[in-house]
């Protein structure tokens, strides 16, 4: 598992990565009540805001961590956004993307590095 400074986690599976948000991020957001996911087969660039996540407190965006194509989104989240609070590292994955350049993943943090960052 790799981690970004934006509190996303990435699990690599061949040339596809599965993306979600960390437990720390879910805790900070509070109870999640709405999630808007991107369309599949969309080409996205690193840094594009592609997910809207609304908690009881506020709306936030989640950016594409790397360049690539969205190949699958977690449709369960639309019906049950609270999954993000219940199981952020498992059932509440957001989307899977086919990565254009796997080397973009090299800059991301390991679990230990991420834990150091959030203190």
């Amino acid at each position: 598992m790799k981690y970004t400074e934006d509190h996303e986690w990435l699990r690599v599976d061949g040339d596809v990565v599965v993306v979600g948000i960390t437990e720390h991020a879910a805790e900070q957001l509070g109870d999640v009540v709405f999630i808007e996911l991107p369309e599949t087969e969309t080409q996205v660039a690193k840094g594009d805001d592609i997910v809207v996540i609304e908690s009881v407190k506020a709306a936030s965006d989640i950016a594409a961590p790397v360049d690539g194509e969205i190949v699958e989104v977690n449709v369960d989240l639309a019906d049950n956004p609270g999954l993000v609070n219940e199981d952020p590292l498992g059932a509440a994955w957001f989307f899977k993307m086919k990565v254009t350049d796997m080397e973009q993943l090299d800059t991301f943090m390991s679990e230990d590095e991420y834990k150091d960052m959030i203190g």
Binding site: F34, V56, A58
Partner: protein, 372 residues
């Protein structure tokens, strides 16, 4: 930036694991361990304890009878204060000369004086406004040595009655004085959640003790400002500075019910408050826009500032909005032009650049459960 103040309960909040945020010049708990959603639902099902000690408590003490204070206060509010019986409380508004709203408040007749509770963010201005407006024979006395607690929810009466006998006999908007182990409590049966419940003014040095005694009961949990906001939104109540302010009139804000007949044209004490001309005129002609409830057709919350449209025409904006935990759906309130204010009217809201449908709805979203 001036230093943030703390209420008598600050240390209790942190010991309960509250997340503290700056609010109206105070360090206040926005949520505790349960989180906003569960705190909201707990209050609807059991009893929630809120620290509202940041709000302004003020005594208006007349030289003569309480009627003198009532008539003096009527020069600042479009409300029947004289007709407020001893032991009763009512909602009121400070208006300005243009007919806008300076603040909303509660005013109680406590026999030999009036007791008012104003919003924390406005309290310094309100006190100056009353000192300037009420003049000589009525003394404006800010109460700075008392905390204020709200206990809200269907189990609030049972919880409070365990400590304070007799509160069960109070009806909605009654006020009375009680003794709790030597501490004088000023209790009103009212609140800001749409639930039955009480607001309790307690001597500063006894505030922590009273809060702890209530929190020790199984049915009582500490509830933060986050849930306070979602509870009042479901109850259709205005948040000053958001849903009402100097740019909104009482009629636009759908608060006509707060202006009793006796202060309207033809009434015995018609007018005589700031902005009386435009406000009394608007009561008869209506306003060009109106505060309404809005139900998003979809699941996306429509928050404060969201612009509202009918076709290409901008017809208003959202002033409060979010997820309503008890209704399990997003709700909003806002202002729309009067020709789009009828219940059931379809409007469009611009959320993140997209137009999403919403429907004008009656307020409150959830019926209140007061003990009348």
């Amino acid at each position: 930036m001036p230093e943030l103040k703390r209420t008598p309960l600050y240390d209790l909040h942190t010991s309960l694991g509250a997340k503290i945020v700056p609010f109206a010049g105070y360090e206040m708990p926005v949520q505790y361990g349960l989180g906003v959603l569960k705190e909201h639902l707990w209050t609807r099902q059991h009893a929630g304890l809120f620290d509202v000690s940041h709000m302004g408590q003020v005594r208006l003490v007349p030289e003569g009878s309480v009627a003198d204070a009532a008539l003096a206060l009527e020069t600042l509010v479009p409300v029947d204060v004289l007709g407020l019986k001893e032991g009763r409380q009512r909602y009121a508004l400070f208006t300005d000369d243009e007919g806008g709203i300076l603040d909303d408040l509660m005013v109680a007749n406590r026999g030999d004086h009036l007791f008012v509770v104003v919003n924390a963010a406005c309290k310094d201005d309100d006190i100056a406004h009353m000192q300037a407006g009420l003049g000589g024979p009525v003394s404006v006395e800010p109460v700075t040595d008392r905390g204020l607690l709200a206990l809200q929810g269907p189990e609030a009466e049972a919880a409070l009655a365990r400590l304070v006998q007799g509160v069960g006999h109070m009806r909605f908007m009654d006020v009375a004085t009680f003794d709790w182990e030597g501490a004088e409590l000023w209790i009103s049966r009212s609140g800001y959640t749409g639930e039955d419940g009480f607001e309790i003014s307690v001597p500063e040095g006894r505030t922590v003790g009273l809060a702890e005694a209530l929190l020790a009961m199984d049915e009582v949990e500490a509830i933060g400002l986050g849930a306070r906001d979602s509870l009042r939104l479901e109850a259709g109540m205005c948040l000053y500075g958001h849903d009402i302010d100097r740019t909104t009139s009482p009629v636009e804000a759908a608060l006509e019910w707060a202006i009793q007949k006796v202060r309207r044209r033809g009434g015995d004490r018609a007018g005589g408050f700031p902005g009386a001309d435009p406000i009394l005129q608007e009561l008869e002609t209506g306003a060009s826009r109106r505060r309404v409830g809005l139900l998003p057709d979809g699941r996306a919350p429509m928050r404060e500032g969201t612009e509202l449209f009918a076709g290409d025409t901008r017809i208003g904006s959202v002033t409060s909005g979010g997820f309503a935990p008890s209704l399990e759906r997003p709700v909003s309130m806002g202002y729309v032009s009067t020709d789009h204010a009828a219940t059931g009217t379809g409007v469009e809201a611009e959320v993140r650049g997209k137009r999403l449908p919403a429907t004008v709805a009656d307020l409150p979203f959830r019926p209140s459960t007061y003990k009348r």
